[in-house]
């Protein structure tokens, strides 16, 4: 008999994963806490029925997807992901913190441009570091399909990031103070 999972431990261990996945599934930042709560309510209510046939993260992803689908109907969906990201051409160095923040915003924008199936393969593999097998189970898709989605997503993300770097400049400047 498998040991029972402690709900509090599950929440603590997977809160960050759930929030990032929800974000990439289009949940607005202002809705992340609500959506996370909803995910973990479902998880905890069904925790004793979790049989371990998939990994916990795979199961969590499925719940996230359902919750995100509801959440996206809200008026604030994608309020930040849809925002125009700042331009970036500065490699890590003295302004590394700023560069990373802005490059991350661009990455989010590039991901946003992908269709969800490609975006989630990229996010789950490259950021959350699930195995391809886990991803295939989470997305209910053949592993080979996930591979092709990953390669397509990589190509598009890299191309978008390159393009944004190239076409920086020539924007109107607003004086701050």
């Amino acid at each position: 008999m498998k040991p029972a999972l402690d709900p509090a431990a599950v929440i603590r261990e997977h809160a960050a994963f759930v929030q990032r996945v929800l974000r990439h599934l289009g949940v607005a930042p202002s809705q992340l806490d609500d959506a996370s709560q909803e995910v973990f309510l479902v998880v905890c209510r069904q925790l004793d029925r979790f049989e371990g046939r998939s990994t916990l993260r795979t199961w969590l992803y499925g719940i996230c997807r359902n919750v995100a689908s509801e959440s996206r109907r809200g008026a604030h969906a994608r309020e930040v992901l849809a925002a125009e990201p700042p331009e970036v051409d500065q490699p890590p160095g003295q302004d590394a913190a700023l560069w990373l923040k802005q490059a991350h915003a661009q990455l989010m924008q590039a991901l946003e441009a992908l269709d969800e199936s490609q975006r989630m393969v990229f996010v789950l593999y490259e950021i959350e570091e699930l195995s391809m097998e886990e991803i295939a189970a989470a997305l209910a898709a053949p592993v080979t399909t996930c591979y092709s989605r990953l390669y397509a997503a990589r190509e598009r993300v890299q191309a978008l990031l390159r393009r944004r770097a190239r076409f920086r400049s020539a924007k109107p400047v607003e004086v701050l103070p």
């Binding site: 809160a15 990032r20 709560q37 959440s71 925002a83 990373l100 490059a103 920086r168 103070p177």
Partner: protein, 263 residues
């Protein structure tokens, strides 16, 4: 079939850095996770148990369902403040990158070398929306030595220059959101109370000697000095600002401000 090499283990150093950074984003703080845990457990225990279980949340017990009810959300308005700070940061960051393409690439001999800030080092500062923000006035004091009065004038001239090693170690913070919040406060009072604005600018310099918004800080300092009647110091500081940022977009505006008041 083996999984392909992940990009974070690949040959593109920038992509590696970026993906590692991405892994640190949207990571809720411990306090926030604790609050989430308390809310979920309270919800599971039923409405009557909420008040006793939700220790980190002073809001009324959440409704049994659905969980998206935002009763507890209204008790945490600071989340919106964090979002606003993040948005402001984005805007200011974009502005900086657009406005100063040359200065950033130019050598800065007056500045002490600053080691690259890698993702793990900046992770806590780079997720303002994921941390429970505190009111600007309630931020924990930073462990920096008080600014000696005798250095004030030199500070006005080369405020970004790293100070010589002091007897007390300086804690260098990297918290762009906090920087923005502080500079916003300084901006709000620069016309009505330029001396208060100067004090906030000085606080920014003490807390963020190598902050990413140094140019904005110096522009504010020039304006505050001018508005408080310290015209020579304003001019000197403007010269120093332009020496470091030759193509600063503040040039015309500040020059005009100084000229207007002289006439």
């Amino acid at each position: 079939m083996n999984d392909p090499t992940r990009l974070r283990d690949g040959s593109d150093a920038h992509m590696r850095e970026l993906l590692r950074y991405a892994q640190t984003q949207d990571r809720p703080s411990t306090a926030r996770v604790d609050a989430l845990t308390a809310r979920v457990l309270a919800e599971l225990a039923g409405p009557g148990a909420s008040a006793s279980t939700s220790t980190s949340d002073s809001a009324p017990a959440p409704a049994p369902a659905p969980a998206s009810a935002t009763g507890w959300l209204s008790a945490v308005p600071t989340r919106w403040i964090a979002g606003l700070a993040a948005a402001l940061l984005m805007g200011m960051g974009a502005y900086r990158l657009i406005a100063r393409p040359v200065e950033r690439a130019a050598p800065l001999p007056a500045v002490a070398p600053q080691p690259p800030v890698l993702a793990p080092a900046v992770a806590p500062a780079a997720k303002p929306a994921a941390q429970p923000p505190s009111p600007a006035g309630a931020r924990a004091p930073v462990a920096v030595a008080p600014e000696p009065a005798g250095q004030a004038r030199r500070e006005d001239v080369r405020p970004w220059r790293a100070k010589p090693s002091s007897t007390r170690a300086r804690t260098v913070r990297s918290d762009p959101a906090a920087e923005v919040a502080l500079l916003q406060r300084a901006r709000r009072v620069v016309v009505a109370d330029p001396r208060a604005s100067l004090a906030l600018v000085a606080q920014h310099h003490r807390e963020f000697p190598q902050g990413v918004f140094a140019e904005e800080r110096e522009a504010l300092a020039v304006e505050a000095l001018q508005r408080s009647g310290q015209r020579e110091r304003a001019a000197t500081r403007l010269q120093a600002l332009l020496a470091r940022y030759p193509r600063s977009s503040y040039r015309e505006r500040l020059s005009a401000l100084l000229a207007d008041t002289r006439d």
